[in-house]
């Protein structure tokens, strides 16, 4: 059984003792701070490689704050993103993950989600992959379209505020539904820390 304080490494992880040690310390603090299920801890794995930080997990709603904190740590420590921008990026991250867990995986037992974070030449890119039903949800796609056309937050639609927030924070968003749904978001960064 996966130990709570020894997260699994994904294939392609490039070892860096200093960085990995700091990450492990942070991970252990976070697992003590949040009440995480054994299933979630078993599902969690990460990969740090040249220019890319990646993790996968099967979160429930209660585990989103853990992933949010983890993403903030990666943005600040691995990708050198400024605190102000990192604070906004984790907002966008939470919105996506919450939508996936709430809507895409409503009737599913396998809430797999992979997050990939990149930063190169001051361009930040976030990719979120899932295998839920959201990509085939006509109401969700209609909501995205409505936000694009009106430019206003859809206050009357559940989930609308979150999607609008994502569009305000990120420069570009593309969504590819399929067997694996992929949401890509990019943001030009003005400064790093």
């Amino acid at each position: 059984m996966q130990e709570a304080n020894s997260p699994r490494q994904m294939e392609g992880h490039q070892a860096d003792p200093d960085r990995d040690g700091r990450f492990l310390e942070f991970y252990q603090q976070q697992t003590q701070r949040y009440d995480l299920s054994e299933g979630f801890l078993r599902s969690f794995a990460y990969r740090f490689a040249q220019g890319e930080s990646c993790f996968e997990a099967a979160p429930e709603i209660a585990e989103i704050p853990f992933l949010r904190g983890l993403t903030f740590w990666i943005l600040r420590e691995n990708l050198n993103v400024s605190e102000d921008i990192a604070s906004n990026l984790i907002l966008a991250f939470e919105e996506v993950v919450a939508n996936v867990v709430r809507h895409s995986y409503e009737a599913s037992d396998t809430k797999w989600l992979e997050t990939r974070l990149y930063c190169e030449d001051a361009l930040f890119k976030m990719e979120l992959l899932d295998r839920g039903e959201g990509g085939r949800d006509p109401e969700l796609l209609e909501l995205l379209d409505s936000i694009t056309k009106t430019g206003r937050p859809p206050l009357q639609r559940r989930g609308g505020l979150g999607l609008y927030l994502m569009k305000r924070i990120m420069d570009e968003m593309t969504y590819e539904p399929g067997e694996t749904n992929t949401l890509r978001m990019t943001k030009q960064l003005g400064e790093t820390k």
């Binding site: 989103i64 939470e94 937050p153 505020l161 609008y164």
Partner: protein, 114 residues
């Protein structure tokens, strides 16, 4: 899971709420339940002190927006107190600061209802 501390006090006919921690996807439902119960019990003058709120997501904002809209439609209101810059920034991004009257301290907000 996140932590959201909710403290409620009654000041005459004004319900004063203080929030501390994270009002996010994980905690928004419990806040919604607690607030809805009070609104259904007849409270329609509400003050929410958010000085100790460290994080808010759209889920939390949705609860605040839904509540203030409901209150204003029934001649009530919800005032915010001591909005931290990070929280104000999120509300600004959603063009929602205009929905709320904001005060620097709780007593001023409560007095504004008189």
């Amino acid at each position: 899971m996140s932590t959201l501390d909710i403290q409620m006090e009654e000041h005459g006919d004004v319900l004063s709420i203080a929030l501390a921690g994270s009002l996010d996807t994980d905690t928004a439902d419990s806040f919604d339940e607690a607030l809805t119960a009070r609104l259904e019990a007849g409270w329609h003058k509400v003050v929410v002190d958010v000085e100790q709120l460290e994080y808010i997501s759209s889920a939390g904002i949705g609860v605040l927006v839904g509540s203030v809209n409901q209150l204003q439609e029934s001649n009530g209101d919800m005032y915010l107190v001591k909005v931290p810059p990070k929280i104000e920034q999120v509300l600004d991004m959603l063009c929602l600061m205009e929905l709320f009257s904001v005060f620097d301290d709780r007593n001023s907000a409560i007095a504004a209802y008189q």
